[in-house]
């Protein structure tokens, strides 16, 4: 029982960063109706910016975090300009395959510049874990949770209490109608990409700092976690992204504890598959329309 609670606690904290990853993913999907397979790799590029700053300039966590966010945003804009902006309305698959091509490009670029398998990241905290009765809480996990929740709240605020957020929700609701009320959709989409990349970058920094390392495989890992959390929580749902992330975290940590790392990954995919077959809308998403997204 104690294990279950401890795992769930850990799961919630790790899940909070999954939630952030899913949040960025869902914002991009919401405005584009297309999947950006280069999302994780963009964050990985940010991670490499960060590690360079750390390794060669000895920068502290805050500076590194800024570098990660900056790198992710630059990469994100690059992806948007190349893979999404120039595509015509019906070319959804072309966009996804294009983003996949850029995923490979970014991964190889990272390996070329920094060829080692792993690079260090500054830790979030170096103090001993806190004790709450029989439960242990790592301080860096706690920081991750607090930061993730704060960021999610900030995104929520931006979405529901700013003019730009209104534009974003309009585009998500009906891209055609958004044009008709005078929203500059192309610019809004670009800015959303930048914002989503920034959120992803922040999530990436938190995960990398807890892990204290970055590898070129981080890109695929981040994309997968964000994707699974997003689908479980509900495609296109902002609160769903957070909830999905938390749930994924809890399921993963418990699975790993009781069954080991392979089963952990297996369970994540089984849960995803089960959701898709039984309840594709996820926990909080809207019911999928029959013809969504548009076919190539």
């Amino acid at each position: 029982m104690i294990d279950l609670v401890q795992n769930t606690l850990d799961g919630v904290m790790i899940g909070s960063s999954y939630g952030l990853l899913a949040l960025g993913f869902t914002l991009i999907f919401g405005v584009m109706r297309r999947l950006d397979l280069a999302y994780g790799p963009s964050i990985m590029i940010g991670g490499y910016f960060g590690t360079v700053l750390y390794l060669y300039y000895g920068a502290g966590p805050l500076a590194v975090a800024s570098a990660v966010v900056l790198g992710a945003v630059i990469a994100g804009i690059y992806v948007e300009r190349l893979c999404f902006a120039p595509m015509k309305a019906g070319a959804a698959i072309a966009s996804m395959v294009s983003s996949f091509a850029i995923w490979m490009q970014l991964e190889q670029a990272a390996i070329l510049v920094l060829p080692r398998h792993t690079y260090p990241f500054p830790p979030l905290a170096t103090v001993a874990p806190l004790e709450f009765g029989p439960f242990l809480v790592r301080v860096d996990h706690l920081i991750m949770l607090v930061c993730a929740l704060a960021l999610a709240a900030a995104v929520h605020l931006a979405l529901y209490h700013t003019r730009f957020g209104l534009a974003l929700r309009a585009i998500i609701g009906s891209p055609v109608a958004a044009h008709l009320v005078g929203i500059n959709v192309r610019t809004a989409v670009l800015l959303t990409f930048a914002g989503a990349s920034a959120v992803g970058g922040a999530a990436g920094f938190l995960v990398l700092a807890v892990d204290q390392q970055v590898t070129p495989m981080f890109g695929m890992w981040a994309t997968l976690k964000g994707l699974i959390a997003m689908m479980i929580g509900g495609l296109g749902s902002v609160p769903g992204a957070v909830v999905g992330g938390l749930l994924l975290g809890i399921v993963e940590v418990n699975s790993q504890w009781y069954f080991g790392p392979q089963i952990r990954d297996l369970v994540a995919y089984v849960v995803l598959f089960a959701f898709l077959v039984v309840r594709p809308r996820g926990l909080l998403g809207r019911a999928p329309e029959p013809a969504m997204p548009p076919k190539a």
């Binding site: 209104l166 998500i172 044009h179 008709l180 929203i183």
Partner: protein
């Protein structure tokens, strides 16, 4: 006010609009009637900037609109109430209206306009915080009209406002159209419901297969002929 000349819009190799010319006069209600597939929605989308014509011109009080982005066209004073309403389903009635005023920053007059819309459309007033996706068809239509009005357009375009609505609601909508026009709004209306449209129109045009085949005033053509051509198109003579 709106001067369209020789407009040609294509879908791939097929010309949906084959050289359309018409004028929408300031302060009047102009109705475009025609069967499905005639090109009415294509015309509306082209004016709104969602489709780019292959050639031709669209002038609003002298300013050329062809080639401008939809957002700039809204800035010039065109607002389209689209076919199928296209409200923002996950946003409340109030937020939908605020979205309509997206390009405006004058908060005080936006609030005043909001109140004006609630007065004009009492059914919306009862549901200001309700999600637009849960409204009835008629209420969504009113919301779409109100949303378009929030940008204080010089020309209001309406694409088949009666589509899928019960007759009583259709009458309500057309009463609103008449009231808006009385307050000075120029309206360009596309409809299949010829009967209702002719009741409010000052001028009307018939479009068949991408071309304007008649322009004039209600009464110049017998209503049944209009209705027939609006639903079925003219039977082509041999050749």
């Amino acid at each position: 006010m709106l001067d369209i000349s020789d407009l040609v819009t294509a879908y791939g190799k097929i010309d949906a609009l084959k050289g359309v010319s018409l004028q929408v006069e300031t302060g009047k209600i102009t109705c475009l009637l025609g069967p499905n597939g005639a090109g009415k929605t294509t015309l509306m989308m082209t004016i709104a900037g969602l489709l780019h014509p292959r050639r031709g011109s669209i002038r609003l009080a002298g300013t050329e609109l062809v080639g401008l982005s939809p957002a700039r066209i809204v800035a010039h004073g065109i607002a389209l109430v689209p076919e199928n309403r296209l409200v923002f389903p996950q946003m409340s009635v109030r937020e939908n209206l605020l979205a309509g005023a997206y390009q405006r920053n004058d908060k005080v007059s936006i609030d005043a306009d909001l109140k004006r819309m609630y007065a004009l459309f009492p059914r919306l007033n009862e549901r200001t915080e309700q999600l637009a996706g849960t409204l009835s068809g008629g209420e969504q239509q009113m919301l779409a009209v109100a949303r378009a009005l929030m940008s204080r357009p010089r020309v209001l375009l309406m694409d088949e406002p009666s589509l899928g609505l019960a007759p009583l609601v259709v009458t309500e909508i057309f009463n609103i159209v008449r009231d808006l026009n009385r307050d000075g709004t120029t309206i360009f209306l596309v409809e299949q419901n010829a009967h209702m449209a002719l009741q409010v129109a000052h001028r009307f045009l018939l479009m068949e297969q991408g071309r304007i085949t008649f322009r004039g005033m209600p009464g110049q053509l017998a209503e049944d002929e209009v209705v027939q051509r609006a639903y079925l198109g003219t039977r082509r003579a041999a050749g």
